[in-house]
């Protein structure tokens, strides 16, 4: 029996933000502003979601002038399905009733230095 994923309200807010623009790579401050989460809450959630393979992370391919490269995040294909299901469940709807955002062709991310894509068995996808 697959496990049902229960996400905290903060995690759902983050999943909602990421699912709103599933093909875009988002940076931490952008997500923090949209969700109202502080960095001390946002990043532990991102770490857990990346561990579960729901979120993928990548460094900016090109360094902006005078600034360091940013770490970027977006939902994986499985993560998008999980997020859609979780958001629908939180809203009291069936996943099938929620039109999932259409996934666009993704730009190739910069190579990751330390991929952390440990999938947990039975993720509610």
């Amino acid at each position: 029996m697959p496990r049902r994923a229960n996400f905290s309200a903060q995690t759902l807010a983050l999943l909602g933000a990421l699912a709103g623009e599933p093909s875009s790579w988002r940076h931490g401050y952008d997500l923090a502003r949209e969700t109202g989460l502080k960095s001390g809450t946002l990043y532990p959630i991102l770490v857990r979601l990346a561990d579960r393979g729901i979120v993928e992370a990548s460094w900016e391919a090109e360094q902006p002038a005078g600034r360091p490269r940013r770490h970027l995040y977006r939902l994986t294909s499985d993560g998008l399905a999980a997020a859609t299901a979780a958001l629908a469940a939180a809203a009291g709807l069936q996943p099938a009733a929620v039109p999932g955002p259409k996934r666009e062709q993704r730009p190739a991310p910069a190579p990751r230095r330390s991929p952390s894509r440990r999938r947990l068995a039975g993720e509610g996808t």
């Binding site: 029996m1 496990r3 994923a5 960095s39 001390g40 532990p44 770490v47 940013r70 770490h71 947990l120």
Partner: protein
Amino acid sequence: MECRGGAAMERLDGLLTWSLGAVARLLPPERREWAEAVQQEAAHLPGGWPRLDWLAGGLWLVVREAHVVRKFVYWAGIGGVAAIAGWALWRSWTNVPRIDVEVGTDRVRLLVAATALIALPWIGRRRGWFGPVGNSVAARLGRVAGCAAIWSPALYLVRLDKQTGQTGYSPGGINWLQEIGGLVLLAAVVTVPLIIKAMRPAAETSTLWSLSGMAAVIVLVILPVQMLAIVYIAGILLATSRRSVVTSASLIGGAIAGLVAALITNQLASHVEELGLAVFGLMVLVILLAAVPAGTISAWLVSGHQDQAELREARIRQGLLAGTVAGACCGLVAVTFEMFMVFAMVLGPAAGLVGGALGGAFADQHQLPRRDGSRAAGFFVSSS
């Protein structure tokens, strides 16, 4: 980006940025990029409070992910145990009558216990039997509290030594034959089952260790008392190591039952003159009865076995272990109240073993409601 708020804010900003870079080294290598991500993102934020707040969040991320608080508490506990041990040794050497053969016996006892406290974790690190400590709070607390409790009777001995000749207490002269023979016997109790198993692989492992356990109880009675310290320290380290088969429920249930039993036996000990020798039988009975609920609860909570026979075996095993923990905990605490309760350190685990087995047998057929839940994902994401 220019920092709003003046030079002080800028300095604080610089300090936090530097601190985040420094503490990121506490994280395992595969996690460090997350601290770096927070740090680099901060450079894109407006200066002043928003950036300071962001960097402080990064520090919190490292504290969480590197388990800094847990490590600090654990090492503070280890430091506390080392301090108690050092204090007992120092007092033994400075505050008691000098050059007294009997006092020398207690000094040997303290030194043996201190050596075990240092040597066993070192051996454990190399071979994995005694360490590293398990991940649960119960294992960490159990290890630190157990090792600290070992030093309570040591301090009691030191206090008695200070009053040598006034209390009627006599530790006796040192007998090196008994000391060395004791260690050999103890080593034999541990190694003989392993040798038999290596020579006869068909031999039942649980039977061998049960016989070894019974032999250990008999051997402990004739061993010099400092061997008890070695056995207890080894037992505490074994039960709380990462490889240990003792579950958190068994550790917690056993410890609580043991503490309750110790309080009751302490009350009984105050009536020793009225009750006479019957008090010892009553104490054993109290330990046995206290171990039953500990064994029942820990067995009750065992799950994760599909096969009913396996589940039953696992439950009885946890019942036995919880009972033994209860008996050992009772013995360790009771001896703190009254030195003559040292017998409880030997008989306690044996009585607890029996009580725990009874408790495990009560719960071995219990059906748990199905729970696939896990909190492994932590605070923010959980599954149930």
